[in-house]
C-alpha cells in the first residue's frame, strides 16, 4: 500500500501514464469523433463505423504494401493514409447513406441501430472476401519517423503524431462549425431539423455531407492506426464498442465531449495498465456505465439538441 502510494508520487510514472493516456486518448478521439458527428446531426448510432475503420486500415495497408514493395519514396505512406481515408469515406458514405439510412430516417431508433448492425456484419463478411484472413503490415511510416527518448521512456514519433492529428481534427471541426457558413447551417439543422427545412436548408444534402464527413473520419482513424497494428479480421468489432463508450461518456453528439471523454478514458486506462493491468478493459466500460447512471446525457451533452 505504501509502495503503491509512493508509486503514485513517482513523477516519471505520472508522466508516462499521461503520455500513454494522451496517445491512446487521441486514438480514441479520432475513432469516435466521426461517430459522434453523425449522431449529432442524424440521430443515428452508427455501428457501421467499425467497418469504415477496418476498410480504412485495410486499404491503407494494402496500398502501402504495394507502394513499399516497389521501393517508392517513404513519405508516400502518409499520402496513402489520407488517400485511403477519402476513398473509403466517400464510397461507403454514399453507399450507406443513400442505400440504407435514407430509408430509415424517422423510424424507431432501435431499428436504425439494428440495421447498421446488420450492414456492419455484412461488411465484415465482404471485408473477409476482399482481404482474406492473413494480416497486413504497414509499419514503414512508423519506422520512418523514428523514436525519441523522454525521461527514460522510448516513444515513437508516429504515436506522438496521433496527438497532433487529433488536435488538428478537433480544431478543424471547431473552425468549420463556428466560423463557416456551412458550419452554421449544420448547427441549424442539428438544432431544429424541421425549421431548417422550412427555411430552405437542403437537409438531404446536409445529411449526406455529414455522413460522408463522419465516414471519412472513421476511415481516417483506421488508416492512421494501421501503421501501429497488424491489420487483421475483426479489428472493426472492437472499435465499435470503444467508440460507443467514448461517445456516451462525452455526450452523444458532442465534439468537445468526445475529446474530453477520449482523454479521460485514455488516461484512466493508461493508469490501469501501469498499476492494475487486469482492469485495462474493465475501466473503460465501468466509466461508461458510471456516466450513464449518474449523467445519462453524458459529460458534455449539447443542451440544445436534448431539449426535445
Amino acid at each position: 500500500m505504501v509502495q503503491l502510494l509512493l508509486g503514485w508520487f513517482d513523477l516519471q510514472l505520472i508522466f508516462t501514464i499521461l503520455t500513454d493516456g494522451l496517445i491512446y486518448g487521441s486514438y480514441l478521439f479520432i475513432v469516435a469523433v466521426g461517430m459522434t458527428v453523425i449522431f449529432g446531426v442524424q440521430r443515428v448510432l452508427n455501428v457501421t463505423h467499425g467497418s469504415f475503420y477496418a476498410f480504412g486500415a485495410y486499404l491503407a495497408a494494402y496500398l502501402g504494401g504495394i507502394w513499399y514493395e516497389h521501393e517508392l519514396p517513404d513519405f508516400g505512406g502518409f499520402v496513402i493514409i489520407f488517400l485511403a481515408a477519402i476513398v473509403v469515406g466517400v464510397f461507403f458514405g454514399i453507399l450507406i447513406e443513400r442505400g440504407l439510412l435514407k430509408h430509415l430516417y424517422g423510424k424507431d431508433e432501435h431499428i436504425v441501430v439494428l440495421a447498421t448492425f446488420a450492414a456492419f456484419l455484412a461488411l465484415e463478411g465482404i471485408g473477409l472476401f476482399i482481404w482474406g484472413t492473413d494480416p497486413y503490415f504497414f509499419y514503414q511510416p512508423q519506422m520512418m519517423l523514428g523514436f525519441v527518448e523522454i525521461l527514460g521512456m522510448t516513444y515513437d514519433y508516429y504515436n506522438l503524431s496521433l496527438i497532433v492529428l487529433a488536435l488538428i481534427i478537433s480544431l478543424s471541426i471547431w473552425y468549420f462549425l463556428s466560423r463557416t457558413i456551412w458550419g452554421r447551417l449544420l448547427q441549424a439543422v442539428i438544432f431544429d431539423r424541421e425549421v431548417s427545412q422550412a427555411m430552405g436548408v437542403n437537409v438531404t444534402a446536409v445529411f449526406l455531407g455529414t455522413f460522408i464527413l463522419g465516414t471519412t473520419l472513421g476511415a481516417l482513424s483506421g488508416a492512421a492506426i494501421a501503421p501501429t497494428i497488424s491489420v487483421l479480421p475483426g479489428i472493426g468489432v472492437e472499435v465499435v464498442v470503444l467508440a460507443f463508450a467514448v461517445v456516451v461518456i462525452g455526450g452523444m453528439g458532442s465534439i468537445p465531449g468526445a475529446l474530453i471523454g477520449s482523454v479521460l478514458v485514455g488516461v484512466v486506462r493508461a493508469a490501469a495498465i501501469h498499476e492494475f493491468p487486469q482492469a485495462e478493459m474493465f475501466v473503460i466500460y465501468a466509466i461508461m456505465a458510471i456516466v450513464l447512471v449518474f449523467r445519462p446525457e453524458g459529460l458534455f451533452a449539447p443542451p440544445a439538441v436534448r431539449k426535445i
Partner: protein
C-alpha cells in the same frame, strides 16, 4: 382459447422432440441443444422487446451463468439440475441488482447501459487468469440426479434435460405474459403516465421484466456451457454475442413464446451450413438476413408462419 393452443402446441412439439431425440444424428441433436440455449436468451429478449426495450448486453447474463456452471464444476458440483438452477438463479439475482439502475432508462440509453454492463463482465473474464483469461474454462460432462451417462447417452440425456428446462421456461413465460403484470407491455411502451395514474409503477414493471429476462438468459448460458463443454469470454460475454441474440429475437419475431426457439433453430442451422463455407459467408448471410428482416418482415419468422397457416387470431 388460444392460450391453450400455444401450450398444447408446445407440449406436442416437446414430446415429439423427446422421442426423435433417440433416432437423430449427433450433429442434429447438437444443433437442437444450441438452439435451446440461444432460444432461451431470445425468449428473454422477447419479454423486454414487447415493452419496446432492447438489450444490447444480454451476453452479461448468458456469460455470467455459463461461467457459473464452470466455476461450480471447480467446487465439485456436477449435477446438471443444481448447475443450471443455481447459475441461472445467480444471473437472475444479478439482473435484480442491476435492475435498480437499468429500470430508469428507455430506448437507446437502455440498450447502451446494458451493453456497458456486459462489456464490464467481458473485461473481467478476459483479463482474469483464474477464469482462464481469453481461453476460458472447461466444463465437465454433468450427471443427472446421480445418473452419469457417457458418450452418446450423455448427449441424449442432456437433450432430454434441456427439453425439460425449456418446457418449464416456456410455460412459465406464457403464464406470465397472460397475467396482468405480463400484459403491461403495450401499455408501458405507449403511455407511462397513464400506467402510473392507473396505479402501477412503470419502473417496477420494467424491473420485473428485466429480472425474468436475465433469468432466461441465465438458463440459456448454463445449457450452452453444458452443451459445448467449455466457456470463453469471446463467444459468451462479448458484445457480438449480445448482437447475435438480438439477431435471433428479430429473426423470430415477438408473436409467440415458441417463436424464439424456431428463430434459434433457423439461426443455428444457417450457421452450421454457412461455416462449412467459411466465416466470411456466415457474416454476410447473417448481415443480409437481418437487413432483409428489418426491411421486409419486421415481425419476424413467426408472422410469416402465421400467414402461411392462415391464422387470423393474433396471439394476445
Amino acid at each position: 382459447m388460444s392460450a391453450d393452443k400455444t401450450i398444447i402446441g408446445v407440449t406436442i412439439a416437446v414430446v415429439l422432440l423427446a422421442c426423435a431425440n433417440f433416432f437423430i444424428a449427433d450433429w442434429i441433436r447438437q444443433i437442437g441443444l444450441l438452439s435451446m440455449a440461444i432460444g432461451s436468451v431470445a425468449l428473454g429478449l422477447l419479454v423486454l422487446w414487447r415493452t419496446g426495450l432492447i438489450s444490447f448486453g444480454h451476453a452479461l447474463f448468458y456469460g455470467f451463468s455459463a461461467y457459473g456452471v464452470a466455476l461450480l464444476n471447480y467446487l465439485g458440483v456436477r449435477d446438471a439440475f443444481v448447475l443450471v438452477i443455481v447459475s441461472a438463479a445467480a444471473s437472475g439475482l444479478l439482473a435484480w441488482g442491476l435492475g435498480f439502475l437499468v429500470r430508469r432508462y428507455r430506448a437507446i440509453f437502455f440498450a447502451l447501459l446494458t451493453m456497458a454492463f456486459s462489456m464490464i463482465l467481458y473485461g473481467v473474464l478476459a483479463k482474469t487468469e483464474r477464469f482462464g483469461s481469453t481461453d476460458g474454462l472447461n466444463v465437465h460432462p454433468p450427471t443427472f440426479l446421480g445418473y452419469a451417462p457417457v458418450d452418446q447417452a450423455a448427449q441424449i440425456t442432456l437433450f432430454l434435460f434441456g427439453l425439460l428446462v425449456i418446457y418449464g421456461l416456456i410455460l412459465g413465460v406464457q403464464i406470465y405474459l397472460r397475467s396482468v403484470l405480463g400484459q403491461m407491455t403495450t401499455a408501458v411502451r405507449e403511455n407511462e403516465i397513464r400506467v402510473e395514474y392507473l396505479g402501477y409503477s412503470v419502473e417496477h414493471v420494467i424491473h420485473i421484466k428485466y429480472v425474468i429476462s436475465g433469468l432466461l438468459a441465465g438458463f440459456g448460458g448454463a445449457i450452452m456451457a453444458l452443451a459445448v463443454g467449455q466457456v470463453d469470454p469471446e463467444s459468451m460475454a462479448y458484445w457480438t454475442a449480445s448482437g447475435e441474440f438480438v439477431f435471433v429475437a428479430i429473426l423470430a419475431g415477438t408473436g409467440n413464446v415458441a417463436a424464439p426457439f424456431i428463430g434459434a433453430v433457423a439461426f443455428e442451422v444457417i450457421r452450421h451450413f454457412a461455416w462449412e463455407h467459411g466465416a466470411n459467408l456466415w457474416q454476410l448471410i447473417m448481415g443480409g438476413t437481418l437487413l432483409a428482416i428489418i426491411m421486409f418482415v419486421p415481425d419476424g419468422i413467426w408472422s410469416v408462419l402465421q400467414r402461411l397457416v392462415g391464422k387470423k387470431d393474433g396471439v394476445k
